[in-house]
């Protein structure tokens, strides 16, 4: 059985080799801490995450960005339903921490930064997150920005906008060509 055994690899490749919230998927038997029952995202949180997502994957000439794909709502669902309690905590606190980073760096709330300032901030956060993932001890928790970026990529490219506009999606290909010509600039297949 081939395809079934590839399912994990595809998503786990995103940043750091782990799907956050699904460790049990990889390690087999590790007991999962129950999800927080009290976790709550506010509308403001969702708007905030929309902006984070849009900064990571913005609208470009060729396709709408992560905000159009409702990335904030996606992150809310995934963190609420799929994350373990301690990851949920890191993620939710991360929203506040990211805003603090904005204030420290530019003296303003993240939502008030210009697109360019947001990008600059997230580039530095991305570098910090990568350092964290590379240097952390085995089993230690991921950086909140790793979570946000992973969810943004996953949520966007598997959304209808991402799959059909940023990528190419053919519901029923009808045939297989294992040696098709490819020209630089052509989009990748969504699946």
């Amino acid at each position: 059985m081939i395809n079934r055994r590839d399912a994990l690899t595809r998503v786990s490749l995103i940043l750091g080799g782990t799907i956050i919230g699904a460790e049990a998927f990889l390690t087999g038997c590790k007991p999962a801490a129950p999800a927080l029952s009290t976790i709550e995202f506010t509308d403001n949180n969702v708007s905030f995450l929309d902006e984070v997502g849009e900064t990571i994957l913005p609208t470009t000439a060729s396709s709408p960005g992560a905000k159009a794909a409702e990335i904030g709502a996606f992150m809310k669902i995934m963190v609420t339903d799929c994350y373990e309690a301690d990851d949920q905590k890191i993620f939710l606190e991360g929203i506040g921490q990211l805003n603090e980073e904005a204030k420290t760096a530019a003296g303003k709330d993240f939502m008030l930064l210009s697109a360019e300032e947001k990008k600059e901030l997230l580039i530095s956060l991305d570098a910090a997150a990568k350092t964290h993932e590379e240097s952390k001890e085995e089993g230690a928790k991921s950086h909140y920005f790793t979570m946000m970026k992973q969810l943004t990529l996953w949520g966007y490219f598997s959304s209808e906008i991402g799959a059909t506009q940023a990528l190419r999606y053919v519901e029923t290909p009808g045939r297989y060509d294992g040696c098709a010509p490819y020209e630089k600039g052509q989009k990748a297949w969504a699946l």
Binding site: D81, G174, P181, Y182
Partner: protein, 559 residues
């Protein structure tokens, strides 16, 4: 005929049960097929088959609630949002793990035929002779020539795509046109062939997908959403293939929600008279009578039924007179992988989603090669271009990052080993009388582990896999020995093995029980050894052969 009386009872509706029902019905028997789970109607019940990935709330992945509810299924890929309904409930149907055994079950009409990987390989005389030559367990009671016509027969009906290769370790079959290797796979195949002087082969997987017209079936549309059910009926399942054939005869009765709790046995005639059924919805008990019974409940569950049967005569159950019932549990050991990336081919891509990969047939301990372990392994894998789930060196955020991710990345290639597990008497299934399931039935206890032979094999699996990729020019080859826990191959086999001697086996050479000749067992439990090939095609062939035997014996009044 009384309402609860049939000519034949088939217990289970998966790959082998579907075949038993079709063959017996087509030969004119009135058949009832009993399935413990719910009905799944072909196409109509494939509710997720045409959804886009964005139509799943969690994009297909597992939630914490699912992880909590499925303590076994969560251990590997099967726990997912898209076809959760087709995996058995771990909570309703617990079992005991004396040693860890990952048991992934499909309890519905069609069983795991809806979910299987569709890889379809024959086993040949190298496999049939191995036990006898090496003094392992017992000899298979048949040889390849006995089963070859039945492989031919089931392949023609099931529709197996593949290429003829002329390899003694992997007999060719009656194939539909093969699927295509992609250009990187073809090149890697050529380099492996050259490097190893033609002794190792990378071929397209032989898979139960229709690639040329077969009556009643659609041709594969390269959607690769098989495990959601195929609206085209293009892969072999009970629903797409054997069930419609059985229904067409007018001889089939299908009864879902029917947990068979025991085979009823008459000690005077030394034959089974029928089965007892617990209705999974109403908890009512029913008796069904028949002249012949086929057990196809899947290896461990068939064994469980037998252990609950005729206990007044044999305390360990029907078929236990040899002392082998429940023993010799096998699977294939997985989890060793090798992968890397391939330079070049930037101007090549593929079109369509091929639900199949390449196969590297066994090469160890063959043709003079001799290792520090017995038997061997094959690899399955694929080459593809990286998707959006990759790092982009120059960018981490923003428009350039996004645009880069919308294009395919480098070519990568990866493969995993499928290794043979020897039949060990001490790898076994027993009844756990201290624990019950949702219906108050005792559960099974599984006690199974890999031993030295398998662990030594895994070392070769890892180094050989990496070496072959390196020999083929693959870059940055990495490998790892991952989780090889038994059960994860989802190829349970061997707990009611065939043999030549009633003292050391449960079934004779026709899959008939030595202890009850009108009971045939044709799911994976009959396997005397596991070989390293995916086993489902072998179950199909043995089932068709056994059904032919059963009907001929019935006509001769021998049953």
């Amino acid at each position: 005929m009384a309402e609860n009386e049939f000519d034949a009872i088939v217990v289970g509706s998966g790959i082998s049960g579907g075949w038993a029902a079709k063959e017996l019905c087509e030969k004119g028997l009135k058949v009832i097929m009993l399935e413990r789970g719910k009905n799944v109607e072909h196409v109509k019940d494939y509710v997720n088959a045409i959804k886009g990935p964005w139509e799943f709330a969690h994009r297909g992945t597992r939630t914490q609630k699912m992880i909590e509810e499925y303590p076994v299924l969560k251990r590997d890929y099967p726990l997912n949002e898209k076809n959760l309904d087709w995996w058995a409930s771990d909570k309703d149907c617990p079992y005991t793990e004396i040693k860890r055994f990952d048991w992934f079950r499909g309890y519905q009409v069609g069983g795991r035929s809806l979910l299987w990987g569709r890889q379809s390989y024959r086993i040949g005389d190298i496999d049939f002779e191995a036990n006898a030559k090496e003094g392992i367990a017992v000899d298979w009671p048949i040889r390849y020539k006995d089963i070859k016509p039945w492989y031919d027969y089931v392949e023609r009906f099931a529709g197996i795509s593949g290429s003829k290769e002329g390899l003694p370790q992997l007999p060719d079959g009656e194939f539909l046109p093969p699927m295509e290797l992609n250009c990187v796979e073809k090149d890697v195949a050529a380099r492996i062939k050259k490097h190893y002087g033609g002794s190792r082969h990378l071929i397209i997987g032989r898979a139960a997908h229709v690639t040329a017209p077969i009556e009643g079936r659609g041709i594969c549309q390269y959607r690769n959403k098989c495990w959601l059910g195929c609206p085209f009926g293009a892969y072999f399942s009970t629903q797409s293939s054997t069930l419609p054939a059985a229904v067409k005869t007018g001889n089939l009765t299908l009864r879902p929600h029917s947990i068979v709790t025991q085979v009823l046995y008459d000690k005077d005639t030394k034959k089974a008279t029928g089965v007892e059924v617990l209705d999974a919805e109403t908890n009512q008990t029913y008796v069904y009578k028949a002249k012949v019974i086929f057990l196809n409940a899947s290896t461990i569950n068939t064994t469980w039924i037998l252990m609950n049967s005729a206990t007044d005569i044999w305390p360990e159950g029907l078929g236990s007179s040899s002392g082998e019932l429940g023993h010799n549990l096998m699977d294939h050991h997985l989890g060793v992988r090798a992968s890397g990336w391939v330079e070049g081919y930037e101007d090549k891509y593929y079109f369509g989603r091929r639900a199949n990969g390449f196969y590297i047939p066994r090469f160890r301990n063959l043709f003079g090669d001799k290792r520090n372990y017995l038997r061997g392994f094959g690899y399955q894998g694929r080459a593809s271009r990286e998707s959006w789930s990759r790092e982009i060196a120059e960018y981490s955020i923003g428009a350039e990052f996004k645009e880069a991710l919308t294009e395919p990345g480098r070519w990568t290639i990866g493969m995993g080993g499928f290794g043979e597990i020897l039949p060990y008497h001490e790898n076994k299934v027993t009844l756990d009388k201290t624990k019950t399931d949702k219906w108050g039935l005792n559960v099974v206890a599984i006690d199974c582990e890999l031993k030295e032979n398998e662990l030594n094999m895994r070392k070769d699996m890892l180094t050989d896999g990496m070496e072959m990729l390196e020999a083929a020019g693959v870059k940055d080859v990495s490998g790892y020995d991952g989780d090889g826990t038994p059960g994860r191959g989802i190829h349970e086999m061997g707990t009611a093995r065939m043999g030549r001697d009633p003292k050391t086996s449960v079934l004779n050479k026709w899959n008939q029980m030595w202890d009850a000749k009108n009971v045939y067992v044709t799911d994976g439990s009959f396997m005397t050894s596991a070989a390293c090939q995916n086993p489902s095609l072998t179950y199909m062939a043995f089932t068709a052969r056994a059904a032919d035997h059963a009907v001929s014996e019935l006509k001769k009044m021998n049953l």
